[in-house]
Each structure stands twice: as structure tokens, then as C-alpha cells.
């Protein structure tokens, strides 16, 4: 991770390889095809976590290679990672809250007397 004004990269400094970009695109399509194929396999309760795992991998590739987050200054990386962590926290805690409720949220009739 880099920081500071010296890391204000110009377009010139960011020139990569167009072959690498095309290869990344092909990899993303391959992962999407794998995800599509797996959706026809009955994997029970593992189906959704598996599909989301592949999605997370694809998103990581897009953010790292196409969006060039790995080359950005520390200030940009912190902004991006914070948003991703907040998103994960919000989704995980909301889902966990509903999934783990074992007690009714209203008092049962017998307890109301």
C-alpha cells in the first residue's frame, strides 16, 4: 500500500498490457460459466455460499485489475476497503439476526396475563 503525493500516478505510469486485460476478461467469463454450470448441480445448502464465493472472487478481480485499486494511494484504498467492510457487516449482521431468532419477538399469550 502506498501513500502520499508521490503516488499520484499519471496515465503514463499506469500503462499495463492489453493482453493482461483481455486475459482477465476471459478469466471472468470462465468463472461466470463455472458458476452457471454449478447452478444445475444439486449442492443443497452449499449452493448459495458457493455461488457467492465465486462472485466475491470475480468482484475482487474486477476491483483489483480493472479498477486498479491495488495501484491506488492509501487514501483511496482505505475508502474502498471501509465501504466493503461496512457492506459485509451490514449484510452479515442483518442475516444472522433473523437466522438466529429462536424466541418470538412478541410475548406469547400466556405471558401477557
Amino acid at each position: 500500500m502506498n501513500a502520499g503525493p508521490s503516488n499520484s500516478r499519471s496515465g503514463e505510469a499506469r500503462k499495463g498490457s492489453s493482453i493482461a486485460i483481455v486475459a482477465t476478461g476471459v478469466l471472468l467469463l470462465g468463472l461466470a460459466a463455472a458458476s452457471y454450470g454449478l447452478s444445475f448441480v444439486h449442492s443443497g445448502s452449499w449452493g448459495l455460499p458457493l455461488a457467492l464465493g465465486i462472485a466475491a472472487l470475480k468482484a475482487g478481480i474486477v476491483i483489483s485489475v480493472f479498477m486498479e485499486l491495488r495501484r491506488e494511494a492509501a487514501s483511496v484504498q482505505i475508502a474502498a476497503v471501509t465501504a466493503l467492510l461496512m457492506m459485509l457487516l451490514l449484510v452479515a449482521l442483518t442475516t444472522a439476526d433473523v437466522a438466529t431468532r429462536t424466541v418470538p419477538t412478541v410475548l406469547p399469550p400466556t405471558a401477557a396475563h
Binding site: 503525493p5 503516488n7 499520484s8 500516478r9 499519471s10 496515465g11 503514463e12 499506469r14 500503462k15 499495463g16 492489453s18 486485460i21 483481455v22 482477465t24 476478461g25 471472468l28 467469463l29 461466470a32 458458476s35 452457471y36 447452478s39 449452493g47 448459495l48 458457493l50 455461488a51 457467492l52 465465486i54 462472485a55 470475480k58 468482484a59 474486477v62 476491483i63 485489475v65 480493472f66 479498477m67 491506488e72 494511494a73 487514501s75 483511496v76 475508502a79 474502498a80 471501509t82 465501504a83 466493503l84 461496512m86 457492506m87 451490514l90 449484510v91 452479515a92 442483518t94 442475516t95 444472522a96 439476526d97 433473523v98 437466522a99
Partner: protein, 209 residues
Amino acid sequence: MNSLHAEHFESAPKQAQAARLGMWIFLASEFLLFAGLFALYGGYRAHAPTAFEEGVRHSTKALGSLNTAVLLVSSTAAALSVHAARAGRRKRAMLLLASTIALGLVFLGIKFYEYSLHFREGIFPGGTGRFFSTHADPSLAPFWTLYFATTGLHAVHVAVGTVVLASSLFSLWRGTINPQRIHPLENAALYWHLVDTIWIFVWPLYYLA
């Protein structure tokens, strides 16, 4: 002013850096906007997993998957366009950017066709329509409402993205985006990649599993 950067910036690279930081903070807020919808999905799915699995089985998997491929290819074209513009290959950059816009429009066309199929079947947001009177599970209504809310909000982002990319295409043609002043195109492409990233998660949640 003939300078490549605004006068309140010390240099063009510093202006580009500030533009990228601002763009990423904007993208972070967009991520959090969709996070609310993903959290609702998680909560409702944990509450009624069977209904959500039935909803996913009923969605148009082939069309949704085709749209995934369209967006992934469009994102690759956008990245290649930025790469070409940095190298000073203006015509190539313009062609690739025009391809990205065209693929965005294809995505929207497929999405609206999907919506028309749902409407014909009597599936509307809010659990209204004849589909919900023949399918008894009340938790199907939240699935389809969230589907329309999430994919609809995403489609709005795709539409805005095509306009932003079209504006960059015009600037490339005029020469106001060039290898020395590339950050407007970089930021437009960043927005497009965000749209792609969001869809990468929408696809498995509503079409696959």
C-alpha cells in the same frame, strides 16, 4: 488558462489523484446504497429460505446469465478503452468505448424484455398480480419486490453509466480527454466497473442459487 490542471491544484497528477479519491468515495456510497438491499435480501431469505429458492427457480436464468456475460465483456472493453487512451490511440479508445455503451444498451434491452415476461405472467412489485393469487406462499412477494427494487436500481445505474460513457466518448472525440488529461475517462470507467461489480452479486442471488 492554458495549464493542464486547475489553478488550485499544484500539478496535473495531484488533480487526477484528488479526482480519483473523490470518485472512490462516491463509489463507496453507491456500494452502501446496494448494501441495504443485500441486507434485506439476507434477512428475508433467512426468514423464508424455501420461498426464495422457489423464486430463484422461477427467474429467467438464461437471460440473467446472458446479461452477466454482456456486462463482463463491456467492463473488459471499458478497461481496454482506458488503456488505449493512455497510449494515445484515440480511435481505438473511441471504438472500445462505443462498444461498451452498445453493450450497456443491450443489457438494458434484455432487462426490459425480462420485465415484460414477468409482467405478462402477472408478477409485479409489491406482491400484486395474478401470479401471487395462484402461488400461496406469502414470502414470494418480498422476493419479487426485492428483485424489482434491486435490478431496477441497478438498471438505472446502467442507464446513467451509458450517459457518462457517452459524454467521455464525446470528450475523446473533441480531444479534451487525452493522454495528459485522462482522469475523466478513468472515472467514467470506474463507475462502469462498479455497475459490473454490483451485478456480479445480483446474478447469483436472484438467478442462480
